[in-house]
Symmetry: C2
DNA sequence: TTTAGCACTCCGTTCCTCTGAGTGCTAAAT
DNA sequence: ATTTAGCACTCAGAGGAACGGAGTGCTAAA
C-alpha cells in the first residue's frame, strides 16, 4: 500500500481542516474540497487505507477522521506550504525588531514577547550559551570605607555588578591591587577552578584582602553558574486555555504548570538545525506529549544563541508558525550579525 | 435585626465549611456542628435572617447557604482566628529565609516563590519604592578603544552596569573627565531632568564626548524609569486550575491571563497597613472581582519595600494565609532591619 | 477502479422521571 | 418569646429512553 498523490491530497485536507476547526472531517466534506471531482465513497476507501497506514485516526466509529501524530509529521515534512507572511505582518515584525534591544537578557525576553504576539500561541524564550562563560575582567570601585562595587565583565560581554559590604574597612588605595590580583588569577577559568584558586591564596594574602576577594570571587562564580542554567521567559501561556483541547481543566493544568511554574526540560533544536518541529509524542517531556512545539534558534553574537519556542496543541498551525518563526530568527540573526536594523523594505523569502 | 453571638457562630461554621469543601451547607449539618445543641429548625430561622442581612447566599432555593462577600468580610474582621503556624512550618519558613539573598530584585522574586510554596495559592511579588530613585554615582571603565562599561549606582544602593559600544573611539584618559561631568550634573535628579540637562550640555561639550554622555544618560534614565514600574513576579499561577471555581475554563482564563501575562494593577496594601485582605468585589481590578487577595508589605532597607500577594478564590483560607503571610513579612522586615538571619529558635506569636 | 446504495453504529441531544437535600411555614411545646 | 416538630414544596442533578444525524464499511453495479 503506497502513499499516492491523492492520499496525500486527502491527508492535507484533513490536517488543515482539523487545524482550523478542531473537528473530525468526514468523507463527504473531503470529497467536496478535492480539486478533482471524486465521490465520497472513493474518499472512504482512501480513508480506510490512510487509517490502516497510521496517518489518520477516528475518535469513534461513526465520526470523521483526525490526523495522528504520524499524519502531522508527514504533513510537516512534505505537505505543508509555509504560509507566506503578508506584507503587513512582515512590516509589523520589522517594526518590532527595530526597537532598540539592549543587553542579551533583554533580547531574549523581548523576543519571546514579540513572537507570542505574532503567532497566537504561548512561547518560551531562553538563552543558549554555546561555550561556558568565564570572567573576562574584574573591576572594583570604592564607594565609601565600608563598601565597594564589584564589576564583572563576562566572556560573552555581559557586564554584571553588585554592591559589597565589607566587614573590615579597607583603604581605597588597596583596591587596584586586589583587582589586579583578581584579573591575573581569576579570569578565563571555570567557577570550580576559581574556588580552588581562592583556597590556594587564602594564606598568601592578608585577612582583610581575603574577605573581599572571597566575596567577589563568590559573586563571580555565582554568575558563571547562573549562566549555565538560564532563566526561561514564557509569554502568553494563558492562551492555552482558549484551545478546545484544553477545555478540560485537568488536561490544561499539567501543561500550564509546566509553562508558567516549572519551565524545565524545554525542547531545543537538535544538532545543527536552526528550527525544529516536535509533534506530540515526539516530545521527550511528559507534559508536552500531547502538544507540539516549534523551536528556533538565532545568533546574537558573542557566541550566544537565543532560543524561542512556540507551544500549542498538536493541531497547531505549523505552516503559519514555522514561517513566522523562521522569519523572526533569520531577521534577528541578520540584525546581530551585521549589527544593524532590519531592512525597511520587506524581503520575504 | 442584630447580629447575635449565635448568628456569628453560624456564619463562622458556614464560612469555614465552605472554605474547606466548596459546597453549600444546610441547616441540619450546621446544627450538628453547633457547640450548644439546637435544632435544625432554629438554625433555619437564623439562616433566613442572615440571608436577609446579606451575609449568606443561596445558589438556588433548595440548596444550603454559602457566604457572600459581606459574609467573608465579617469573618475576616471579627470571626477568624489566625491559624497558628505549626512548629514545623515555622522552622521551614526560617530555613527558607536563612538562605542567602543577594540583590533586592532577587529578594523580591525569591519571596514570591517561598510564599507560594508555603500557602497553596498563587502569589505575586513586586517591589514598592517609597521614594523615586535617582542616580547616586556614575563610573566609566575603559574596555578597549571602542567600548566602555558604564556603572550606575542608584539611590537605593542597587548597582547596574552595561557595556557601551562607541561609534567614535575615545582616549581612555578622557573617561575620568566624562564621569566627573556625569557625577556633577546628572546625580540626584529625575529622568526628565537628566534629559533636559543633556540638551543644555549638547553644545558645550565636544561631539565625541557627547555621544558617550548621551548613551550613558539614556541608559541611566531608562533605569530610573524602569524602577518606577517594577517587574512583577508571579509564582504557582497554575494552582488556580485546581480550584473547583475555575473548573470552567472561561472563568479561569481571565484570571490566568492577568496573573501570568498582563500582571497590571495588582493590589497593594492601602495607606499604612502592613497587610490587607481584599475580598471579591472589593478588588478594583476587573479580573479579580471574583477572587480574593491577601497582600502584605515588608521592609528591605534603603527606603525599599517588598510586596507579596496571595491570590485565590473568595473562599480562600484567610486564616491560614494571613497567618503565614504576616509571619513571613515580619520575619523579612526583622531580618533586613537588623541585617541578620532569623532566629534559630522558633518564636511564634 | 470508481460509484451508488444501504444497513449499521454510535455520539450528542432532548425529554422524561425520580430522588434527595434543603427550604419556609405553621402550629405545638417550652 | 423562643424553640422545635412536622409537612408540603422546590429544584438541581442523576439516570434512562428515544431520536436524529453524521459517518462508516460493505456489496454490487457501472
Amino acid at each position: 500500500m503506497e502513499l499516492t498523490a491523492r492520499k496525500k491530497q486527502i491527508l492535507k485536507i484533513v490536517v488543515e481542516s482539523y487545524i482550523d476547526t478542531a473537528e473530525p472531517l468526514g468523507s463527504k466534506a473531503i470529497a467536496e474540497r478535492m480539486p478533482e471531482k471524486v465521490s465520497s465513497a472513493t474518499v472512504r476507501n482512501e480513508l480506510a487505507e490512510l487509517s490502516d497506514m497510521g496517518y489518520l485516526e477516528q475518535p469513534h466509529t461513526s465520526a470523521g477522521r483526525i490526523p495522528s501524530a504520524k499524519g502531522y509529521r508527514l504533513y510537516v515534512n512534505e505537505l505543508m506550504e509555509r504560509k507566506p507572511l503578508s506584507d503587513e505582518e512582515a512590516a509589523q515584525i520589522n517594526d518590532a525588531l527595530r526597537q532598540e534591544l539592549k543587553g542579551t537578557d533583554q533580547v531574549i525576553a523581548k523576543t519571546g514577547q514579540m513572537v507570542s504576539s505574532f503567532v497566537d500561541y504561548p512561547t518560551y524564550a531562553v538563552a543558549d550559551r554555546t561555550a561556558a562563560a568565564t570572567v573576562r575582567r574584574f573591576e572594583l570601585i570604592a564607594v565609601d570605607s565600608g563598601s565597594v562595587i564589584a564589576v564583572v565583565m563576562l566572556s560573552d560581554s555581559r557586564v554584571k555588578s553588585q554592591l559589597m559590604h565589607l566587614s573590615l574597612p579597607l583603604e581605597a588605595e588597596t583596591l587596584p591591587e586586589i583587582s589586579h590580583l583578581l584579573n591575573t588569577h581569576f579570569t578565563g577559568i571555570s567557577a570550580e577552578e576559581m574556588n580552588a584558586h581562592l583556597m590556594n591564596l587564602s594564606d598568601q594574602v592578608s585577612g582583610q584582602w581575603f574577605l573581599l576577594l572571597n566575596q567577589v570571587v563568590e559573586y563571580a562564580a555565582g554568575l558563571l553558574k547562573e549562566s549555565q542554567q538560564h532563566e526561561v521567559f514564557t509569554n502568553g501561556a494563558s492562551q492555552l486555555l482558549k484551545f478546545p483541547e484544553f477545555r478540560d481543566v485537568d488536561k490544561a493544568h499539567d501543561l500550564m504548570h509546566f509553562m508558567v511554574d516549572s519551565k524545565e526540560q524545554l525542547p531545543v533544536p537538535a544538532g545543527d538545525q536552526s528550527m525544529q518541529i516536535l509533534i506530540g509524542p515526539e516530545n521527550v517531556n511528559e507534559a508536552l506529549k500531547e502538544s507540539s512545539v516549534v523551536v528556533a534558534s538565532y545568533d546574537i553574537g558573542d557566541g550566544m544563541r537565543g532560543l524561542v519556542g512556540v507551544v500549542g496543541p498538536t493541531r497547531m498551525d505549523y505552516a503559519a508558525v514555522a514561517a513566522r518563526l523562521s522569519y523572526f530568527a533569520e531577521s534577528l540573526t541578520r540584525m546581530f550579525g551585521k549589527h544593524q536594523l532590519p531592512p525597511k523594505e520587506n524581503e520575504i523569502q
